[in-house]
Symmetry: C2
Subunit: 417 residues, 2 copies
């Protein structure tokens, strides 16, 4: 076995790409989308296919009680904590070919490259496939990794109801992926997840590798405004209690808020429903959602406070009732900066443009960050599109990201401490 | 016959109210709404009932080619132009008991009062019922009066298709109201229409009579904004092309526009539809409507120009495409100020509070204003509600408005020139 890796060693891009194509066929729909909702027959078929690849690569395949899959490549010293990589293979209802899949198949491609070049590592290398990352069939999302790190009990997870009425534990049994490996068996030395960006930053800036330093905190609220329905022609402006106007004032306020706060703060009103929603009737009711995100918890709280103060003022000025209901609230996650810096260094050494960045979406790595040094490698999403059949990452970028993963995992798996 | 009216002569409020109740029973729905869409069986039943009342009052009933009904009380000098009053009895799908009906039944109550007190007038008094004022089944609205004054050809009107597919001319024949009186037969000396305000001004201010001086011009536009759908978490603010934000910026702009212009300018965005309308997706598309109204055509044009300039700026700033489509455009209508002043004088003489006002809704009187001095008497709408089963005007106000109509018609019908 060889214990030194040449800097110019590269993964086999053709094999990686053909695996991505093959996995995307499982659950493929006529419109080009991929639909492998968690714990459905399609998910089982995808899992079976991945397990078969793992076995062909000589990995030991293990399944834990929440259905997380682990392909283990033994290192020279089994007493050392393993290095873990991976992601998920479940998709949203109308998913693409790369979200999740790249992190799993990129990990397997790293293993295949190590095998072919006869390279041994000090530590075990583990490729993980986490259950139900998308949350499209069972809430919450990132469930497999959440349960793995102890953030949710197994019992609670197994009793979760699907949107189609199924019970998670029963579905897990049905598809044959209720395993016997204890939860949290591996306490990794480090975790690295390769993923598509799912945002437009790398693509717009023409940068090939994102070293993910942190992950945004999320604050989701539903807002219901109740005003007074009235005739749009006969009601003077001063007598209006316009729920539609109030909804729009909220949307423009949060835009201004994000611009004024600057930094990582983003704010979105993506959903607005007016009643009665007629051209010549002042709306009596508006239901809208507000999505605030920041990488800094204190700043996210500040955004929430400023938003709340604006609602109080708007209530007064427009004479409307405004009720809010929290829909989701996650604190920001800080990844391991030493590990993120290592990803940048490897991109640089491989001649790839790179930048530090923030993830705006949730990922399994944020759960693993609770128990070990973790970070992520992002590759560009063309036009920032994901969760959509049009999701695309250029082949060169898929391969480049996997090469960064190769060298990063190699270094981590040979660390003595 | 008596030719002098005492100032303290009043209409019979009980009779007026019972007529309003009886007419509202025709087309009544379980939810309390009244549904007599133009030229339906319910409209026919309402027309038959009104024609029967006219005949009982000794009026000559005439029907013209577009189905307008005229109940004629002969004056002493048939060579003089008649004084006309009236309104409509068709309703919207979920209508109230007073919109239109009050103008017709108030006119008949005036005739009944003249009859009972044996009062004769120099000129004929004509109570008109105009076809399809609401436009809820056949577009455009105010069709009967529009055709009457020559603003639309009879042929065009008869070929109009209903939202249910029926053809207007065939429906008119079917219900037996395709009459033989030539269009525009009566060239009135004056036209006065009694109507509920359909807005909150009189009710909020506690004023009982509105003397309508003018009617707003209307500019309706549909606006379609096309941006770029993207992830609400991963898309930095500076890279967004947010159709939802643009729609809301338009809505808050028109609110500011109306406030800045002041005067009679009103502006409403009552309808907004976002796509995909999801909490965590920046909207790719927004369809909204903009309703601008002013009593002054030059100011209304100014509002349209400022709006258009804002869209150009927004296109640039947000990087979105914005298309507009005119849905309706009517110039403001000026009523006869001498006649409006007469209405105010009569309200004052009857001890009723009054104010000059603007109509924000369209009415048959605006069509009649093209061929003769015209004005309107408004009575309060509780909370400004109309086109709704909750439409309500206090009994005292219904009667007070009819008393103003009585004295106004009396004076006009005895004018020598």
């Amino acid at each position: 076995m060889i214990t030194e890796m040449a800097l110019d060693l590269k993964v086999n891009g053709d094999r990686l790409l053909s695996w991505l194509v093959d996995l995307a066929k499982i659950g493929a729909r006529d419109d080009g989308a991929c639909c492998r909702l968690a714990l459905t027959d399609e998910d089982r078929a995808g899992r079976d296919w991945v397990a078969q690849r793992m076995r062909e690569l000589g990995l030991q395949v293990q399944i834990d009680a929440i259905g997380n899959m682990f392909g283990v490549r033994a290192g020279r010293d089994r007493t050392l904590a393993p290095v873990m990589t991976g992601s998920h293979i479940d998709t949203v209802r109308s998913g693409g070919a790369y979200d999740g899949n790249l992190g799993v198949l990129g990990g397997l491609e790293v293993v295949a490259t190590l095998n072919e070049t006869n390279l041994s590592t000090a530590r075990d290398v583990v490729v993980a496939v986490f259950t139900n990352e998308e949350g499209a069939r069972f809430a919450p999302d990132m469930m497999g990794s959440l349960v793995y790190v102890g953030g949710m009990t197994l019992d609670e997870a197994l009793l979760t109801n699907a949107i189609d009425g199924a019970v998670l534990g029963e579905e897990l049994q049905r598809i044959g992926y209720a395993g016997d490996m204890p939860l949290g068996w591996y306490q990794p030395h480090a975790f690295v997840e390769l993923h598509i960006e799912q945002g437009p930053v790398l693509d717009m800036e023409g940068i090939r590798i994102g070293a993910v330093h942190n992950l945004q905190g999320i604050s989701w609220q539903e807002v219901v405004v109740t005003g007074q329905s009235n005739h749009a022609g006969t009601t003077p402006m001063r007598l209006r209690r316009d729920a539609g106007y109030a909804a729009c004032a909220i949307a423009t306020f949060v835009r201004d808020l994000a611009k004024d706060m600057g930094g990582d703060q983003v704010a979105t009103v993506g959903k607005i429903d007016l009643k009665p929603n007629l051209i010549n009737v002042i709306a009596s009711k508006a239901l809208l959602t507000v999505d605030l995100r920041n990488t800094d918890e204190a700043l996210l709280k500040q955004a929430e406070r400023l938003f709340s103060a604006f609602l109080a003022q708007l209530r007064e000025e427009e004479g409307v009732d405004i009720q809010t209901r929290p829909l989701a609230r996650f604190e920001p996650v800080q990844f391991d900066l030493t590990l993120a810096k290592r990803i940048e260094d490897n991109a640089k050494a491989l001649g790839l443009s790179y930048r530090p960045m923030t993830s705006g979406a949730g990922h399994d790595a944020q759960m693993l960050a609770r128990i070990c040094p973790s970070a992520m490698i992002f590759v560009p999403s063309v036009d920032g599109i994901s969760h959509n059949p049009a999701e695309h990452t250029k082949a060169d970028d898929l391969v480049a990201g996997t090469n960064v993963l190769l060298h990063t995992l190699w270094q981590l798996s040979n660390q003595e401490a």
